[in-house]
Protein backbone atom coordinates (compact mmCIF):
# COMPACT_ATOMS: atom_id res chain seq x y z
CA UNK A 1 0.00 0.00 0.00
CA UNK A 2 1.23 3.42 -0.88
CA UNK A 3 1.04 6.14 1.73
CA UNK A 4 -1.66 8.78 1.37
CA UNK A 5 0.64 11.50 0.14
CA UNK A 6 1.66 9.36 -2.79
CA UNK A 7 -1.97 8.71 -3.61
CA UNK A 8 -2.44 12.45 -3.73
CA UNK A 9 0.54 12.77 -6.03
CA UNK A 10 -0.25 10.01 -8.44
CA UNK A 11 -4.02 10.44 -8.70
CA UNK A 12 -5.71 8.50 -11.44
CA UNK A 13 -6.48 11.65 -13.37
CA UNK A 14 -2.85 12.68 -13.29
CA UNK A 15 -1.66 9.31 -14.51
CA UNK A 16 -4.29 9.39 -17.20
CA UNK A 17 -2.98 12.75 -18.44
CA UNK A 18 0.53 11.33 -18.31
CA UNK A 19 -0.37 8.28 -20.39
CA UNK A 20 -2.81 10.05 -22.68
CA UNK A 21 -1.65 13.62 -22.97
CA UNK A 22 -4.25 16.05 -24.33
CA UNK A 23 -3.46 18.56 -27.06
CA UNK A 24 -0.39 16.63 -28.04
CA UNK A 25 -0.36 17.28 -31.76
CA UNK A 26 2.21 19.76 -32.89
CA UNK A 27 0.98 23.03 -34.34
CA UNK A 28 2.90 23.88 -37.46
CA UNK A 29 4.07 27.47 -37.75
CA UNK A 30 2.47 28.70 -34.55
CA UNK A 31 2.39 32.34 -33.46
CA UNK A 32 4.07 31.54 -30.17
CA UNK A 33 6.28 28.67 -29.19
CA UNK A 34 8.97 27.73 -26.68
CA UNK A 35 10.97 24.80 -25.42
CA UNK A 36 11.25 24.14 -21.71
CA UNK A 37 14.04 21.89 -20.56
CA UNK A 38 15.36 20.86 -17.19
CA UNK A 39 18.73 19.25 -17.85
CA UNK A 40 18.97 17.72 -14.40
CA UNK A 41 15.78 15.67 -14.77
CA UNK A 42 15.71 15.54 -18.51
CA UNK A 43 12.14 16.83 -18.41
CA UNK A 44 11.20 18.50 -21.69
CA UNK A 45 8.15 20.42 -22.83
CA UNK A 46 7.66 21.91 -26.32
CA UNK A 47 4.74 24.27 -26.48
CA UNK A 48 2.96 25.96 -29.41
CA UNK A 49 0.19 28.53 -29.23
CA UNK A 50 -2.03 30.40 -31.64
CA UNK A 51 -4.03 33.35 -30.45
CA UNK A 52 -6.73 35.33 -32.26
CA UNK A 53 -6.98 39.08 -32.67
CA UNK A 54 -8.42 39.43 -29.20
CA UNK A 55 -5.39 37.63 -27.73
CA UNK A 56 -7.52 34.60 -26.94
CA UNK A 57 -5.69 31.27 -27.14
CA UNK A 58 -7.43 29.33 -29.88
CA UNK A 59 -4.98 26.51 -30.46
CA UNK A 60 -2.43 24.90 -28.18
CA UNK A 61 -0.13 21.95 -28.66
CA UNK A 62 2.58 20.34 -26.60
CA UNK A 63 5.00 17.47 -26.97
CA UNK A 64 7.46 16.36 -24.38
CA UNK A 65 8.92 13.66 -22.25
CA UNK A 66 9.83 13.35 -18.64
CA UNK A 67 8.27 12.34 -15.38
CA UNK A 68 4.54 11.87 -14.84
CA UNK A 69 4.25 15.14 -12.97
CA UNK A 70 5.89 17.30 -15.62
CA UNK A 71 3.96 15.75 -18.51
CA UNK A 72 0.59 15.56 -16.76
CA UNK A 73 0.92 19.18 -15.70
CA UNK A 74 1.65 20.18 -19.27
CA UNK A 75 -1.39 18.30 -20.49
CA UNK A 76 -3.65 19.77 -17.80
CA UNK A 77 -2.23 23.21 -18.48
CA UNK A 78 -3.09 23.07 -22.18
CA UNK A 79 -6.68 22.20 -21.32
CA UNK A 80 -6.96 24.97 -18.78
CA UNK A 81 -5.62 27.78 -20.99
CA UNK A 82 -7.41 26.91 -24.21
CA UNK A 83 -10.05 29.50 -24.91
CA UNK A 84 -8.62 31.88 -22.35
CA UNK A 85 -6.96 35.19 -23.11
CA UNK A 86 -3.24 35.49 -22.64
CA UNK A 87 -3.86 37.64 -19.60
CA UNK A 88 -6.16 35.02 -18.11
CA UNK A 89 -3.62 32.29 -18.84
CA UNK A 90 -0.93 34.22 -17.00
CA UNK A 91 -3.30 34.78 -14.10
CA UNK A 92 -3.85 31.02 -13.88
CA UNK A 93 -0.10 30.57 -13.93
CA UNK A 94 0.21 32.86 -10.94
CA UNK A 95 -2.49 30.99 -9.01
CA UNK A 96 -0.77 27.71 -9.82
CA UNK A 97 2.51 29.02 -8.47
CA UNK A 98 0.76 30.10 -5.29
CA UNK A 99 -0.79 26.66 -4.87
CA UNK A 100 2.62 25.04 -5.19
CA UNK A 101 4.07 27.33 -2.58
CA UNK A 102 1.24 26.59 -0.20
CA UNK A 103 -0.23 30.08 -0.45
CA UNK A 104 -3.94 30.86 -0.68
CA UNK A 105 -4.92 30.36 -4.33
CA UNK A 106 -7.99 31.02 -6.41
CA UNK A 107 -9.56 27.63 -7.05
CA UNK A 108 -12.13 29.04 -9.43
CA UNK A 109 -9.35 30.03 -11.77
CA UNK A 110 -7.40 26.80 -11.25
CA UNK A 111 -10.36 24.46 -11.83
CA UNK A 112 -9.05 21.00 -12.85
CA UNK A 113 -5.51 22.01 -12.01
CA UNK A 114 -6.37 21.73 -8.33
CA UNK A 115 -5.79 18.03 -8.70
CA UNK A 116 -2.05 18.77 -8.75
CA UNK A 117 -2.16 20.22 -5.24
CA UNK A 118 -0.52 17.06 -3.87
CA UNK A 119 2.73 17.91 -5.65
CA UNK A 120 3.50 20.55 -3.08
CA UNK A 121 4.15 17.86 -0.48
CA UNK A 122 7.14 16.81 -2.59
CA UNK A 123 9.41 19.84 -2.70
CA UNK A 124 11.84 18.41 -5.28
CA UNK A 125 8.94 17.67 -7.60
CA UNK A 126 7.49 21.18 -7.60
CA UNK A 127 9.88 22.26 -10.31
CA UNK A 128 8.61 19.38 -12.48
CA UNK A 129 5.18 20.89 -12.17
CA UNK A 130 6.33 24.43 -12.89
CA UNK A 131 8.28 23.58 -16.06
CA UNK A 132 5.33 23.85 -18.46
CA UNK A 133 4.28 27.14 -16.88
CA UNK A 134 7.65 28.75 -17.34
CA UNK A 135 7.61 27.43 -20.90
CA UNK A 136 4.24 29.12 -21.39
CA UNK A 137 5.67 32.35 -20.13
CA UNK A 138 8.71 32.00 -22.39
CA UNK A 139 6.51 31.37 -25.40
CA UNK A 140 4.64 34.61 -24.79
CA UNK A 141 7.61 36.83 -24.18
Amino acid sequence: MLPNELNDLYKEVILDHYKNPRNSSEIIEPLHKARGYNPFCGDEVNLQLNVDNNQVIQEVGFQGHGCAISQATASLMTESIKGKSIQEALAIREEFRKMMQGEQSNLELLQDLEILEGVRNFPVRIKCSLLSWSTLEDSLS
Partner: protein, 407 residues
Protein backbone atom coordinates in the same frame (compact mmCIF):
# COMPACT_ATOMS: atom_id res chain seq x y z
CA UNK B 1 32.66 -13.73 6.86
CA UNK B 2 31.17 -10.25 7.15
CA UNK B 3 28.55 -9.82 9.83
CA UNK B 4 26.32 -7.25 8.15
CA UNK B 5 23.96 -6.98 11.08
CA UNK B 6 26.72 -5.92 13.40
CA UNK B 7 28.15 -3.61 10.74
CA UNK B 8 24.73 -1.96 10.36
CA UNK B 9 24.77 -1.22 14.10
CA UNK B 10 27.85 0.93 13.66
CA UNK B 11 25.93 3.35 11.44
CA UNK B 12 23.57 5.53 13.45
CA UNK B 13 21.72 6.90 10.41
CA UNK B 14 20.46 3.40 9.54
CA UNK B 15 18.13 3.71 12.53
CA UNK B 16 16.44 6.65 10.86
CA UNK B 17 12.77 6.25 9.97
CA UNK B 18 11.28 7.64 6.78
CA UNK B 19 7.49 7.51 6.75
CA UNK B 20 7.65 5.10 9.67
CA UNK B 21 9.87 2.64 7.82
CA UNK B 22 13.59 2.31 8.38
CA UNK B 23 15.89 4.00 5.88
CA UNK B 24 17.19 1.64 3.18
CA UNK B 25 20.18 3.55 1.93
CA UNK B 26 21.08 2.63 -1.65
CA UNK B 27 22.73 5.87 -2.77
CA UNK B 28 26.28 4.91 -1.92
CA UNK B 29 27.83 5.81 -5.25
CA UNK B 30 26.82 9.40 -4.50
CA UNK B 31 28.00 9.39 -0.90
CA UNK B 32 28.26 6.85 1.91
CA UNK B 33 27.17 6.88 5.54
CA UNK B 34 29.60 7.22 8.48
CA UNK B 35 30.14 4.74 11.30
CA UNK B 36 30.17 5.84 14.94
CA UNK B 37 33.93 5.36 14.97
CA UNK B 38 34.39 8.09 12.36
CA UNK B 39 31.84 10.44 13.92
CA UNK B 40 33.41 10.03 17.35
CA UNK B 41 36.92 10.67 16.02
CA UNK B 42 35.69 14.00 14.72
CA UNK B 43 34.10 14.94 18.03
CA UNK B 44 37.32 13.95 19.79
CA UNK B 45 39.35 16.07 17.38
CA UNK B 46 37.25 19.13 18.13
CA UNK B 47 37.16 18.54 21.86
CA UNK B 48 40.82 17.73 22.40
CA UNK B 49 43.05 18.36 19.40
CA UNK B 50 41.61 21.29 17.51
CA UNK B 51 44.33 23.62 16.26
CA UNK B 52 45.88 24.82 13.08
CA UNK B 53 48.53 22.31 12.02
CA UNK B 54 52.23 22.72 11.16
CA UNK B 55 54.63 25.17 12.66
CA UNK B 56 52.83 25.55 15.96
CA UNK B 57 55.10 25.10 18.97
CA UNK B 58 52.20 24.60 21.35
CA UNK B 59 51.02 21.17 22.44
CA UNK B 60 47.59 21.17 20.81
CA UNK B 61 49.02 22.22 17.47
CA UNK B 62 51.68 19.49 17.69
CA UNK B 63 49.06 16.89 18.55
CA UNK B 64 46.82 18.04 15.70
CA UNK B 65 49.76 17.88 13.30
CA UNK B 66 50.69 14.39 14.43
CA UNK B 67 47.16 13.11 13.89
CA UNK B 68 46.93 14.88 10.56
CA UNK B 69 50.14 13.29 9.32
CA UNK B 70 49.34 9.88 10.78
CA UNK B 71 46.18 9.89 8.66
CA UNK B 72 48.33 10.59 5.61
CA UNK B 73 50.41 7.56 6.44
CA UNK B 74 47.26 5.44 6.68
CA UNK B 75 46.13 6.61 3.26
CA UNK B 76 49.56 5.88 1.79
CA UNK B 77 49.52 2.35 3.19
CA UNK B 78 45.92 1.77 2.09
CA UNK B 79 46.75 2.31 -1.58
CA UNK B 80 50.36 1.15 -1.18
CA UNK B 81 52.04 4.42 -2.12
CA UNK B 82 55.84 4.38 -1.91
CA UNK B 83 55.90 7.34 0.43
CA UNK B 84 53.57 9.50 2.50
CA UNK B 85 54.73 12.45 0.42
CA UNK B 86 52.83 11.07 -2.54
CA UNK B 87 49.52 11.73 -0.78
CA UNK B 88 48.07 15.21 -1.35
CA UNK B 89 45.04 16.25 0.67
CA UNK B 90 42.32 17.93 -1.41
CA UNK B 91 38.55 18.33 -0.95
CA UNK B 92 37.33 15.66 -3.34
CA UNK B 93 38.04 13.74 -6.53
CA UNK B 94 36.97 16.74 -8.58
CA UNK B 95 39.54 19.03 -7.00
CA UNK B 96 42.21 16.35 -7.42
CA UNK B 97 41.48 16.02 -11.14
CA UNK B 98 41.42 19.81 -11.56
CA UNK B 99 44.79 20.00 -9.86
CA UNK B 100 46.20 17.56 -12.44
CA UNK B 101 44.47 19.38 -15.30
CA UNK B 102 45.65 22.84 -14.26
CA UNK B 103 49.11 22.11 -12.87
CA UNK B 104 50.13 19.27 -15.18
CA UNK B 105 47.81 19.57 -18.16
CA UNK B 106 48.14 23.27 -18.93
CA UNK B 107 51.92 23.11 -18.61
CA UNK B 108 52.72 19.91 -20.48
CA UNK B 109 50.51 19.59 -23.54
CA UNK B 110 50.63 21.46 -26.82
CA UNK B 111 48.40 21.74 -29.85
CA UNK B 112 50.03 18.82 -31.70
CA UNK B 113 49.32 16.46 -28.82
CA UNK B 114 46.28 14.87 -27.29
CA UNK B 115 44.51 13.69 -24.15
CA UNK B 116 42.60 10.41 -24.00
CA UNK B 117 39.52 9.78 -21.86
CA UNK B 118 36.59 7.37 -22.22
CA UNK B 119 32.89 7.60 -22.94
CA UNK B 120 32.22 6.48 -19.39
CA UNK B 121 33.79 9.48 -17.66
CA UNK B 122 32.07 11.32 -14.85
CA UNK B 123 31.83 15.04 -15.66
CA UNK B 124 34.67 15.57 -13.20
CA UNK B 125 37.10 13.65 -15.39
CA UNK B 126 35.78 15.14 -18.62
CA UNK B 127 35.11 18.85 -18.19
CA UNK B 128 38.58 19.67 -16.76
CA UNK B 129 40.16 17.99 -19.79
CA UNK B 130 37.85 19.86 -22.16
CA UNK B 131 39.24 22.98 -20.51
CA UNK B 132 42.84 21.89 -21.06
CA UNK B 133 42.00 20.98 -24.63
CA UNK B 134 40.50 24.42 -25.26
CA UNK B 135 43.34 26.29 -23.58
CA UNK B 136 46.16 24.37 -25.28
CA UNK B 137 44.33 23.61 -28.52
CA UNK B 138 45.13 19.95 -28.12
CA UNK B 139 42.84 17.13 -29.16
CA UNK B 140 40.57 15.33 -26.70
CA UNK B 141 40.17 11.71 -27.76
CA UNK B 142 37.49 9.46 -26.41
CA UNK B 143 37.61 5.69 -26.07
CA UNK B 144 34.17 4.44 -27.17
CA UNK B 145 31.93 1.89 -25.46
CA UNK B 146 30.25 -1.30 -26.57
CA UNK B 147 26.47 -1.60 -26.39
CA UNK B 148 26.96 -3.55 -23.18
CA UNK B 149 28.55 -0.52 -21.50
CA UNK B 150 32.15 -1.74 -21.48
CA UNK B 151 35.05 0.00 -23.17
CA UNK B 152 35.58 -0.88 -26.80
CA UNK B 153 39.35 -1.22 -27.05
CA UNK B 154 39.41 -2.37 -30.67
CA UNK B 155 40.75 0.95 -31.93
CA UNK B 156 42.99 1.64 -28.94
CA UNK B 157 46.10 1.75 -31.15
CA UNK B 158 44.58 4.59 -33.11
CA UNK B 159 43.52 6.48 -29.99
CA UNK B 160 46.54 6.13 -27.74
CA UNK B 161 49.48 7.12 -29.95
CA UNK B 162 52.92 8.70 -29.77
CA UNK B 163 51.28 12.14 -29.54
CA UNK B 164 49.21 11.18 -26.51
CA UNK B 165 50.43 13.01 -23.41
CA UNK B 166 48.01 11.75 -20.80
CA UNK B 167 45.38 9.05 -20.53
CA UNK B 168 42.85 9.90 -17.83
CA UNK B 169 40.30 7.19 -17.22
CA UNK B 170 37.69 6.12 -14.77
CA UNK B 171 38.51 2.88 -12.96
CA UNK B 172 34.97 1.85 -12.04
CA UNK B 173 32.10 3.70 -13.69
CA UNK B 174 29.43 5.25 -11.49
CA UNK B 175 27.10 5.10 -14.51
CA UNK B 176 27.31 1.45 -15.51
CA UNK B 177 29.31 -0.09 -12.69
CA UNK B 178 31.82 -1.26 -15.31
CA UNK B 179 35.22 -2.20 -13.94
CA UNK B 180 37.48 -0.98 -16.70
CA UNK B 181 40.54 -2.96 -17.87
CA UNK B 182 42.93 -0.29 -16.68
CA UNK B 183 45.93 -2.62 -16.70
CA UNK B 184 45.66 -3.06 -20.43
CA UNK B 185 45.09 0.64 -21.05
CA UNK B 186 47.95 1.67 -18.77
CA UNK B 187 50.28 -0.73 -20.53
CA UNK B 188 49.35 0.85 -23.84
CA UNK B 189 49.75 4.36 -22.43
CA UNK B 190 53.17 3.58 -20.98
CA UNK B 191 54.29 2.08 -24.28
CA UNK B 192 53.81 5.47 -25.97
CA UNK B 193 55.21 7.41 -23.02
CA UNK B 194 51.93 8.95 -21.92
CA UNK B 195 51.14 9.77 -18.31
CA UNK B 196 48.23 7.99 -16.67
CA UNK B 197 45.63 9.48 -14.32
CA UNK B 198 43.03 7.22 -12.71
CA UNK B 199 39.65 8.41 -11.45
CA UNK B 200 39.35 5.94 -8.59
CA UNK B 201 36.31 7.54 -6.92
CA UNK B 202 34.36 4.27 -7.29
CA UNK B 203 37.22 1.80 -6.93
CA UNK B 204 39.35 2.69 -3.91
CA UNK B 205 36.28 2.59 -1.61
CA UNK B 206 35.15 -0.79 -2.89
CA UNK B 207 38.11 -3.01 -3.72
CA UNK B 208 41.84 -3.38 -3.10
CA UNK B 209 43.78 -0.82 -5.15
CA UNK B 210 47.58 -0.82 -5.27
CA UNK B 211 49.06 2.21 -7.00
CA UNK B 212 52.47 0.63 -7.39
CA UNK B 213 51.01 -2.44 -8.98
CA UNK B 214 48.79 -0.57 -11.43
CA UNK B 215 51.67 1.87 -11.98
CA UNK B 216 49.64 5.02 -12.56
CA UNK B 217 51.10 8.51 -12.30
CA UNK B 218 48.09 10.12 -10.65
CA UNK B 219 45.07 8.66 -8.88
CA UNK B 220 42.14 10.49 -7.32
CA UNK B 221 39.39 9.55 -4.88
CA UNK B 222 36.99 11.05 -2.31
CA UNK B 223 36.71 10.30 1.40
CA UNK B 224 32.94 10.80 1.48
CA UNK B 225 32.47 7.76 -0.74
CA UNK B 226 34.34 5.55 1.74
CA UNK B 227 32.79 6.19 5.16
CA UNK B 228 34.74 9.41 5.73
CA UNK B 229 33.67 13.06 5.92
CA UNK B 230 32.95 15.05 2.75
CA UNK B 231 35.76 17.55 3.19
CA UNK B 232 38.65 15.29 2.28
CA UNK B 233 39.77 13.84 -1.02
CA UNK B 234 43.08 12.41 -2.10
CA UNK B 235 45.36 13.05 -5.03
CA UNK B 236 48.04 10.42 -5.25
CA UNK B 237 51.01 11.34 -7.45
CA UNK B 238 54.36 9.69 -8.03
CA UNK B 239 57.16 11.49 -6.17
CA UNK B 240 59.17 12.30 -9.31
CA UNK B 241 56.14 13.85 -10.93
CA UNK B 242 54.87 15.79 -7.94
CA UNK B 243 58.34 17.18 -7.36
CA UNK B 244 58.51 18.64 -10.85
CA UNK B 245 54.90 19.79 -10.89
CA UNK B 246 53.95 23.46 -10.71
CA UNK B 247 51.86 24.30 -7.66
CA UNK B 248 48.13 24.86 -8.14
CA UNK B 249 46.56 26.82 -5.28
CA UNK B 250 48.99 29.38 -3.86
CA UNK B 251 49.23 31.02 -0.45
CA UNK B 252 50.18 30.12 3.10
CA UNK B 253 51.90 26.81 3.97
CA UNK B 254 52.79 25.84 0.40
CA UNK B 255 55.70 28.29 0.18
CA UNK B 256 59.31 28.08 1.33
CA UNK B 257 60.57 31.65 1.00
CA UNK B 258 58.49 34.65 0.01
CA UNK B 259 59.49 38.18 -0.92
CA UNK B 260 57.15 40.89 -2.14
CA UNK B 261 57.98 39.95 -5.71
CA UNK B 262 58.40 36.18 -5.76
CA UNK B 263 58.16 32.92 -3.89
CA UNK B 264 59.68 29.45 -3.79
CA UNK B 265 57.78 26.29 -3.00
CA UNK B 266 57.70 23.98 -0.05
CA UNK B 267 58.43 20.25 -0.37
CA UNK B 268 55.78 17.83 -1.56
CA UNK B 269 53.04 17.25 -0.57
CA UNK B 270 52.77 20.61 1.26
CA UNK B 271 53.49 22.41 -2.01
CA UNK B 272 49.94 21.49 -3.03
CA UNK B 273 48.18 22.26 0.24
CA UNK B 274 47.74 26.02 0.28
CA UNK B 275 46.18 27.76 3.25
CA UNK B 276 44.86 26.22 6.41
CA UNK B 277 43.99 22.69 5.40
CA UNK B 278 40.88 20.90 6.54
CA UNK B 279 42.72 19.39 9.50
CA UNK B 280 39.75 17.48 10.90
CA UNK B 281 38.34 15.42 8.04
CA UNK B 282 41.61 13.60 7.16
CA UNK B 283 41.54 12.17 10.69
CA UNK B 284 38.06 10.85 9.97
CA UNK B 285 39.38 9.35 6.75
CA UNK B 286 42.14 7.62 8.71
CA UNK B 287 39.56 6.06 11.01
CA UNK B 288 37.41 5.06 8.02
CA UNK B 289 40.45 3.35 6.52
CA UNK B 290 41.02 1.50 9.80
CA UNK B 291 37.40 0.40 9.69
CA UNK B 292 37.63 -0.82 6.10
CA UNK B 293 41.00 -2.49 6.67
CA UNK B 294 39.64 -4.38 9.66
CA UNK B 295 37.00 -5.87 7.42
CA UNK B 296 39.41 -6.30 4.55
CA UNK B 297 38.97 -4.80 1.11
CA UNK B 298 38.87 -8.27 -0.48
CA UNK B 299 35.85 -9.00 1.68
CA UNK B 300 34.21 -5.70 0.85
CA UNK B 301 34.61 -6.47 -2.84
CA UNK B 302 33.31 -10.02 -2.46
CA UNK B 303 30.30 -8.79 -0.53
CA UNK B 304 29.43 -6.25 -3.21
CA UNK B 305 29.94 -8.86 -5.91
CA UNK B 306 27.40 -11.06 -4.14
CA UNK B 307 25.02 -8.13 -3.79
CA UNK B 308 25.25 -6.98 -7.40
CA UNK B 309 24.76 -10.52 -8.65
CA UNK B 310 21.64 -10.88 -6.52
CA UNK B 311 20.39 -7.42 -7.45
CA UNK B 312 20.81 -7.94 -11.20
CA UNK B 313 19.11 -11.33 -10.97
CA UNK B 314 16.15 -10.00 -9.06
CA UNK B 315 15.77 -6.72 -10.93
CA UNK B 316 15.68 -8.45 -14.32
CA UNK B 317 12.59 -10.32 -13.10
CA UNK B 318 10.73 -7.02 -13.21
CA UNK B 319 8.83 -6.62 -16.48
CA UNK B 320 9.99 -3.69 -18.56
CA UNK B 321 13.11 -3.10 -16.47
CA UNK B 322 16.34 -2.81 -18.40
CA UNK B 323 19.75 -3.04 -16.76
CA UNK B 324 22.35 -0.50 -17.91
CA UNK B 325 25.92 -1.83 -18.09
CA UNK B 326 27.51 -5.27 -17.99
CA UNK B 327 25.62 -8.10 -16.30
CA UNK B 328 28.66 -10.16 -15.35
CA UNK B 329 29.32 -9.44 -11.63
CA UNK B 330 33.05 -10.02 -12.17
CA UNK B 331 33.15 -6.95 -14.37
CA UNK B 332 30.89 -4.81 -12.29
CA UNK B 333 31.03 -2.86 -9.04
CA UNK B 334 28.07 -2.61 -6.68
CA UNK B 335 26.15 -0.21 -8.89
CA UNK B 336 22.77 -1.27 -10.29
CA UNK B 337 21.60 1.24 -12.89
CA UNK B 338 18.36 0.64 -14.74
CA UNK B 339 15.59 2.18 -16.76
CA UNK B 340 11.90 1.30 -17.08
CA UNK B 341 9.93 1.48 -20.27
CA UNK B 342 7.31 4.08 -19.52
CA UNK B 343 8.07 5.11 -16.01
CA UNK B 344 10.36 8.02 -15.44
CA UNK B 345 13.19 7.69 -12.87
CA UNK B 346 11.88 10.63 -10.88
CA UNK B 347 8.58 8.93 -10.34
CA UNK B 348 10.39 5.75 -9.35
CA UNK B 349 12.59 7.69 -6.94
CA UNK B 350 9.65 9.45 -5.31
CA UNK B 351 7.63 6.26 -4.84
CA UNK B 352 10.62 4.33 -3.44
CA UNK B 353 11.44 7.21 -1.11
CA UNK B 354 7.98 6.94 0.41
CA UNK B 355 8.95 3.41 1.40
CA UNK B 356 12.23 4.63 2.91
CA UNK B 357 14.33 3.44 -0.01
CA UNK B 358 16.94 5.99 -1.11
CA UNK B 359 18.19 5.61 -4.66
CA UNK B 360 19.56 8.22 -7.05
CA UNK B 361 17.80 9.26 -10.24
CA UNK B 362 19.03 11.51 -13.02
CA UNK B 363 22.10 11.52 -15.21
CA UNK B 364 24.58 10.83 -12.37
CA UNK B 365 27.02 13.39 -13.78
CA UNK B 366 27.26 11.48 -17.01
CA UNK B 367 25.09 13.43 -19.45
CA UNK B 368 27.01 12.56 -22.63
CA UNK B 369 26.78 8.83 -21.96
CA UNK B 370 23.08 9.12 -21.20
CA UNK B 371 22.61 11.02 -24.45
CA UNK B 372 24.42 8.22 -26.25
CA UNK B 373 22.00 5.72 -24.70
CA UNK B 374 19.11 7.92 -25.80
CA UNK B 375 18.05 8.40 -22.20
CA UNK B 376 17.80 11.61 -20.25
CA UNK B 377 17.82 9.91 -16.88
CA UNK B 378 18.16 6.52 -15.22
CA UNK B 379 17.62 5.04 -11.76
CA UNK B 380 20.59 3.85 -9.74
CA UNK B 381 20.80 1.70 -6.61
CA UNK B 382 24.34 1.39 -5.31
CA UNK B 383 25.62 -0.73 -2.45
CA UNK B 384 28.16 -0.69 0.31
CA UNK B 385 29.28 -2.92 3.11
CA UNK B 386 26.22 -2.24 5.31
CA UNK B 387 23.74 -3.36 2.63
CA UNK B 388 22.33 -6.88 2.47
CA UNK B 389 20.02 -9.07 0.41
CA UNK B 390 17.11 -7.82 2.46
CA UNK B 391 17.73 -4.27 1.24
CA UNK B 392 17.61 -5.54 -2.33
CA UNK B 393 14.38 -7.43 -1.65
CA UNK B 394 12.86 -4.19 -0.39
CA UNK B 395 14.03 -2.43 -3.54
CA UNK B 396 12.41 -5.10 -5.71
CA UNK B 397 9.17 -4.98 -3.71
CA UNK B 398 9.20 -1.23 -4.11
CA UNK B 399 9.69 -1.55 -7.85
CA UNK B 400 6.73 -3.90 -8.08
CA UNK B 401 4.66 -1.29 -6.32
CA UNK B 402 5.85 1.34 -8.76
CA UNK B 403 4.66 -0.85 -11.60
CA UNK B 404 1.30 -1.54 -10.02
CA UNK B 405 0.84 2.12 -9.60
CA UNK B 406 1.55 3.00 -13.18
CA UNK B 407 -0.19 0.11 -14.90
Amino acid sequence: MMDINSIKKDFPILKKQINNTPLVYLDNAASTQKPNQVIQSIVESYELYNSNVHRGVHTTSMEATERYELAREKVAKFINAKSNDEIVYVRNTTEALNLVAYAWGLNNIDSTENIVVTELEHHSNLVPWQFVSQKTNCELRIIPTTPEGTLDLSSIDKLITESTKIVSIVHVSNLTGTINPIDEIIKKAKSVGAKVCIDAAQSVPHMPVDVQQIDCDFLAFSGHKMLAPPGIGILYGKTEILEKLEPFLRGGEMVKEVTYSSATWNDIPTKFEAGTPNFIDPIGLGVAIDYLSNIGMENVRQHEKDLIKYALDRLTEIPGLEIIGPTNPEMRGGVATFSMNDIHPHDIGTILDQRGIAIRTGHHCGMPYHKKLGLSATSRASFYLYNDYNDIDKLVDGMNDVINYFK
